[in-house]
């Protein structure tokens, strides 16, 4: 039933199908970028224990520029 609806609304007409693909790609890109950036920044924020692959010095502060720029920008 769900598959039927999916097919009829998004796949059946080619223009809609193309638009769906492009829209999904855009949405996925935004979501994936946001999520991975958040994870990445969290890895590099320092001061906390990090996932298992990382180095033994994980708990010491690591700062990206965005973490320290408040001290130097007006």
């Amino acid at each position: 039933m769900l598959g039927r609806t999916f097919y009829n609304t998004l796949v059946k007409k080619n223009s809609v199908f193309i638009a769906t693909i492009f829209g999904t790609a855009f949405a996925f890109e935004v979501a994936f970028d946001t999520t991975s950036t958040r994870v990445w920044d969290n890895f590099n924020k320092g001061g906390r224990l990090l996932p298992p692959i990382v180095h033994y010095n994980s708990v010491i502060g690591h700062k990206q520029w965005k973490d320290i720029k408040d001290k130097y920008e007006q």
Binding site: F32, D33, S36, T37, V39, W40, F43, N44, L50, P51, I53, V54, H55, Y56, N57, S58, I60, G61, H62, K63, Q64, W65, D67, I68, K69, K71, Y72, E73, Q74
Partner: protein, 372 residues
């Protein structure tokens, strides 16, 4: 125990060298014909050599043996000589070679080949383990940015830039880095503009065809301490201070080497001559480096209050140089993480699709009904 005539002697025969065994051997040698006696002597001698039995016992054996074998062996003969002699006796006396002889020959040839190969290898591949020539290998230090998921420590880059600017840049250029590269890495845009303006750059030509001086812009590259290589050599007793842009990538050991070099200055050990104008540093290949020790505690004053010990400054400036050699480092690792995630997902998806499509093919059963 008597061995039967012609019985193969087992070279692996284990014995403990007791008196009973000696008597058995001597009995064999003195009561049997020379051929068997010599074979048995060889076998025993091999055992003796292999098991490092006493030399006295060996001589004792041959003193008895040579009564039965038509050649005089003196007590003072070396084991090898005696062995060779008896070996030949056995070879000439027997109509076909003993298995023991072949084994021994194979072993000797193999040993010869292996030995010759080893000698040739040693002659052709002379590996120098001379730390004075190669430079002491630096230990591996725990750099933050060595981890696959970590960026540079940007606070360290900022401090390291300060060390480079106040100390290193007196002699070392940094040709590949422009002021703009520092923006949003270690300094804000306003700070970079202000720093660049403090430096005069030659520009031009103007409308009259003359070159003129102007304040620096973020797009300008780092100023050079010397106008050209000749000036750099003339100012440093003939030694050229290398450009530091790619120094971390250009040296074996990378960050560890540079850090070790900066903190590794010591007095030359006894017996090592260091020429006038050179300095001893065990991490530098050859040991004698033109650059003197420059980092001393408290040389700079960090704006963020970090104690400026020599090792802290070395660590910071090394981090800065690591960034200078690889400015794309942070983006590269982040992109790598994202690529690993996406490609893992696509791999799982393709595996699923393959199994989905192949399932009916893999699980079908073809039945053949022969014609009636």
């Amino acid at each position: 125990m008597q061995r039967s005539f012609g019985q193969q002697l087992d070279l692996n025969d284990k014995y403990d060298g007791t008196t009973a065994r000696r008597h058995e051997v001597l009995n064999m040698i003195t009561t049997h014909p020379p051929t068997l006696a010599s074979q048995y002597a060889i076998a025993t001698l091999t055992d003796i050599v292999q098991h490092r039995q006493s030399v006295t016992w060996t001589h004792h054996l041959y003193t008895m043996a040579h009564n039965r074998i038509p050649r005089t062996l003196s007590i003072g003969d070396s084991i090898t000589n005696v062995h060779n002699f008896l070996f030949q006796q056995a070879r000439f006396a027997s109509t076909k070679p003993q298995a023991a002889d072949n084994t021994k020959q194979i072993a000797m040839v193999t040993t010869g080949i292996v030995g010759a190969t080893g000698l040739a290898y040693m002659a052709a591949n002379q590996v120098s383990a001379n730390m004075a020539d190669e430079g002491l290998h630096p230990p591996a230090y725990p750099w933050y940015h060595k981890d696959p998921f970590h960026t540079f420590d940007h606070a360290a880059i900022r401090r390291g830039y300060q060390v480079y600017r106040e100390v290193c840049s007196a002699c070392h250029s940094l040709d590949r880095i422009a002021w703009r590269n520092l923006i949003n890495v270690s300094h804000s845009e306003d700070e970079v503009k202000a720093m660049a303006e403090e430096v005069e750059y030659e520009d031009g030509p103007d409308d009259n065809g003359d070159m003129f001086q102007r304040p620096g812009k973020p797009s300008d590259y780092m100023p050079k301490p010397y106008a050209n290589e000749e000036a750099a050599r003339a100012g440093n007793a003939g030694a050229l201070p290398p450009d530091l842009s790619l120094m971390i990538k250009a040296r074996h050991g990378g960050e560890d080497y540079v850090f070790s070099l900066l903190t590794g200055y010591v007095d030359a050990p006894a017996g090592v001559e260091v020429r006038e104008g050179l300095n001893y540093n065990p991490y530098f290949p050859g040991g004698a480096i033109a650059m003197a020790r420059v980092l001393f505690d408290g040389l700079v004053e960090y704006e963020d209050g970090t104690p400026a010990t020599a090792s802290q400054m070395a660590r910071d400036v090394t981090t800065f140089l690591a960034w200078a050699a690889e400015p794309e480092h942070d983006d590269r690792k982040k992109m790598g993480m994202k690529a690993a995630i996406v490609l893992s997902g696509l791999t799982l998806l393709s595996v699923y699709i393959k199994r989905f499509k192949w399932a009916p093919i893999k699980s079908r059963k073809i039945v053949y009904n022969p014609p009636q």
